[in-house]
């Protein structure tokens, strides 16, 4: 089992490397000018923007591995940013307290999802579709069309934990990926998540606390989405109700490209982060290709399909052997 999953993550990593190599070659500048894609500043830019949905993708991967689906992350990201932004900018709370309040709002969304799925036994798709609407609606109600200029209020040259501001959210993503990957692979809780996704009835009979595990997965997914929300508020410098529109699909796509199976039981946290980076590179490089601006959505969509189809073909071949 372990060997197989390692292979799957390596292939995602290889894909990312091929992608970077391709754009490095394609965008190679003429006559000694600086490379527009292959440079440190651009790499940081990619990492910064990928981390916004990359953090949430960690949660999405775990939800999908457990056999569920979460449509709320985009709305939760926006709500967190708006709540934190409103308190920070208008009520002059401290940054930490505002962020905590925003995260609490996100967690509340997760709690509602978990209660609907575990308590009321709603299908996850329906439950989180409802929560998505509620969270987005709450964000609009709070802002009443305004937006909160967070960056204007941040102390100039602020270095959280002594790090450059731009580094914080990529580092947060990496740290969270390591933590949750370890939890999923090395701890009983993670094993229970895989078991639940592999065969929910067998999990119940095996004595897995199915309800608790399922609820925890949606709560953690909401927590990670709200951390994404805080990251977005700081990176973008604003809290706004219509931010992160459609991110739920980017987040799900990242997890799936990273090896998560929507049938449950298969996938990995590291894979989801690598998946987020694959999209981050695409989104960064495509606009730099002259004339490709209008194609980027189309290309991103095709990439999802190609990667998943190739993965399935490979899976089927390895199953036959």
């Amino acid at each position: 089992m372990k060997a197989l999953r390692d292979v799957r993550e390596l292939s995602t990593l290889a894909l990312l490397a091929i992608e970077v190599a391709f754009f490095a070659w394609y965008l190679w500048p003429d006559g000694g000018r600086p490379h527009p894609f292959l440079n440190g500043a651009n790499a940081l830019l990619i990492l910064k923007y990928s981390s916004i949905y990359g953090i949430a993708a960690i949660g999405a991967a775990m939800v999908i591995i457990s056999g569920g689906i979460d449509l709320a992350p985009g709305a939760v990201i926006a709500l967190t940013g708006v709540v934190a932004g409103a308190l920070f900018v208008e009520s002059h709370w401290s940054l930490g307290a505002s962020a905590l309040a925003g995260i609490s709002a996100g967690l509340a969304c997760g709690l509602v999802s978990a209660a609907l799925i575990v308590g009321a036994r709603l299908p996850p798709f329906i439950a989180t579709l409802g929560v998505m609407g509620i969270a987005r609606g709450a964000a609009f109600i709070i802002t009443e069309g305004r937006y909160f200029d967070v960056s204007g209020q941040l102390p100039a040259g602020w270095r959280p934990l002594g790090l450059p501001l731009d580094w914080t959210s990529p580092l947060l993503m990496v740290a969270l990926a390591v933590v949750f990957h370890t939890l999923m692979m090395k701890f009983q809780w993670g094993r229970a998540v895989y078991a639940l996704g592999g065969n929910p009835i067998a999990a119940l009979y095996a004595g897995v606390r199915v309800d608790l595990v399922q609820a925890s997965v949606y709560l953690i997914a909401a927590l990670l989405a709200s951390l994404s929300g805080v990251a977005l508020a700081i990176v973008q410098g604003q809290g706004k109700a219509d931010l992160a529109m459609g991110y739920e699909l980017d987040v799900i796509a990242s997890a799936v490209v990273g090896g998560a199976s929507l049938a449950g039981g298969r996938g990995s946290v590291i894979g989801a982060v690598l998946g987020a980076l694959i999209f981050g590179v695409l989104r960064n490089a495509l606009p730099q290709i002259p004339g490709a601006t209008f194609y980027d959505r189309l290309i991103v969509g095709m990439v999802v399909i190609v990667i998943v189809v190739v993965d399935q073909v490979l899976q089927r071949r390895s199953a036959r052997l």
Binding site: M1, L4, K186, F187, R191, A203, L204, Y205, G265
Partner: protein
């Protein structure tokens, strides 16, 4: 001595259907106790109550003399009750070791997994069961037999005081089953109480001290093995239906000659049919009106052969001739339209739509085969007639009910009936009586014979050797993907097994 488990006046109903009615009996500590009965008798419901996944409507479960209200499977496990399920409850996505310890992982603080310890313990356990599988192998790569033994290993992995097994040998060969019995004997000697549910009376008599029979959700009797014969048990199980059994046992075995005389045309001929890597060079014929049995051990390629004939899998070489014309079906639909149908092995997954009423279940194949587009009201009358004709379920069963209200045997009859409704020329049956009780088995045999008498060719795959010997005009034996012999219908079990298992067994 207090009983290990006592059921006291247990009632349990699902919707309007009573599964258990006032069931009371006790299982002594340290004995091995069989629970037998036809499908639908309530055995599985009783085990689910013991495993904590169902709660009785009335009555009490006592464990070691204490009244026990189990909150769930987890609670039952905590009280030392282990259950080996009839269904293949494996985690296909996890390793063998992770399967064995699922829900009861060995951990350090904070739930950190002790992977190495679990792997070692799994290896030792698999060794004890003589299952040659690596603890790191993924469960979805295992054979059916190994998956079933994995369930047994799961139960053995923790020290249970009460071990209940629900049909644990359905996918095992005789040798593997005997190995399992040896292990169960050892556990019993160590003081574990064994509860054994099976249709196979030979196993029950081999293993158990006492035998409890249930019928229609009621307790019939508990008898000691020494004082009972297998006829007594069958009589207790079948009860009122004994008449059917007597009539069918006097059935004169058909002969191939009889079959050929009634209609000389071959219903099916395959010429060196192959589907790599499952089977190769299979050439066989089935005459119209003939019942041909196909025997082989698990993994011999029998199911794959049937699937290839109806177009579920691609042939890599060879040809199929149906009613004198060469055909290569691309789908079961195409096959059904030419009168070739497959009654599949797994009724849960391949046979029934549990979201649809019996009426629709019964009508879909015929409607597809005949290319009907309108769903007519006549279907309801047809369905009701079929339910009566095949004696499916109790009189209270309506065409508007869903299949889940039926017992396994009656579900199997629905699967057979829906295909027979297409009036096939050639009927392929894969384990038509797997997990089915004695009464339903004879009825299904009657259905197959009736169809053959009307001129259809039947190719029956079964692991149940006595069944093939009573049913088939000829028996073909497959081994490791190739046909390895043909025997007349009056062959002995020994002759067939010698071919199927080869000298290696």
């Amino acid at each position: 001595m207090t009983a290990a488990v006592a059921f006291e006046h247990i009632d349990k109903s699902f919707a309007a259907i009573a599964a258990l009615r006032d069931v009371s009996f006790a299982i002594d500590r340290g004995e091995s106790h069989a629970i037998v009965g036809e499908n639908g008798a309530g055995k599985s419901t009783l085990l689910k109550i013991l495993a904590g996944s169902l709660r009785p409507d009335r009555g009490e479960l006592r464990i070691e003399g204490e009244p026990a209200t189990l909150a769930g499977p987890r609670d039952a496990l905590a009280r030392g009750i282990g259950l080996v399920h009839q269904e293949m409850l494996a985690f296909p996505n996890l390793s063998v070791a992770a399967n064995i310890f699922a829900g009861r992982e060995l951990t350090r603080r904070f739930g950190l997994l002790r992977d190495r310890d679990m792997r070692d313990r799994s290896a030792a356990l698999l060794d004890r069961l003589r299952v040659r599988v690596a603890p790191d192998a993924r469960a979805d790569g295992l054979s059916l037999a190994h998956r079933q033994l994995l369930q047994v290993a799961r139960a053995l992995a923790f020290d249970c005081r009460i071990l209940a097994l629900d049909e644990p040998t359905t996918a095992l060969t005789a040798a593997e089953a005997e190995q399992l019995f040896g292990i169960l004997d050892g556990l019993k000697a160590g003081g574990v109480t064994i509860i054994y549910v099976s249709h196979r009376l030979a196993e029950v008599f081999r293993l158990c001290d006492r035998i409890t029979t249930l019928r229609d959700g009621r307790f019939v009797s508990t008898v000691a093995r020494a004082t009972a014969t297998s006829d007594d048990i069958v009589q207790a199980m079948v009860g009122r239906a004994l008449e059917t059994r007597r009539r069918t046992t006097t059935f004169v075995p058909r002969t191939a000659e009889e079959g050929r005389r009634s209609s000389p045309a071959a219903a099916l001929a395959t010429g060196r049919l192959s589907s790599a890597p499952c089977f190769r060079d299979v050439s066989l014929t089935v005459a119209a009106g003939e019942i041909v049995g196909l025997f082989g051990l698990v993994g011999s390629g029998r199911t794959e052969l049937l699937e290839t004939i109806v177009g579920l899998r691609n042939a890599t070489a060879g040809d199929v001739t149906v009613a004198n014309s060469r055909r290569r079906f691309r789908s079961p639909r195409e096959a059904a339209r030419s009168g070739v149908v497959l009654v599949p092995e797994d009724r849960q997954r391949q046979g029934l739509f549990f979201n649809l009423s019996l009426r629709h279940n019964l009508a879909i194949p015929a409607a597809e085969a005949e290319g009907r587009t309108l769903v007519g009201g006549a279907e309801r009358a047809h369905a009701a007639a079929m339910l009566r004709r095949w004696r499916i379920g109790a009189a209270a069963i309506e065409p508007s009910d869903t299949p889940d209200v039926l017992s396994g045997g009656n579900q199997q009859k629905v699967v057979a009936a829906k295909w027979i409704a297409t009036k096939p020329r050639l009927l392929l049956l894969d384990e038509p009586t797997k997990g089915v009780d004695v009464g339903a088995k004879y009825e299904i045999h009657g259905i197959i014979r009736g169809l053959a008498d009307e001129g259809a060719g039947c190719l029956v795959v079964s692991s149940d050797l006595p069944e093939l010997l009573t049913l088939a005009d000829r028996i073909l034996v497959m081994k490791e993907g190739a046909l390895c012999g043909e025997l007349p219908g009056d062959a002995t079990e020994e002759q067939v097994m010698r071919l199927a298992a080869g000298t290696a067994a």
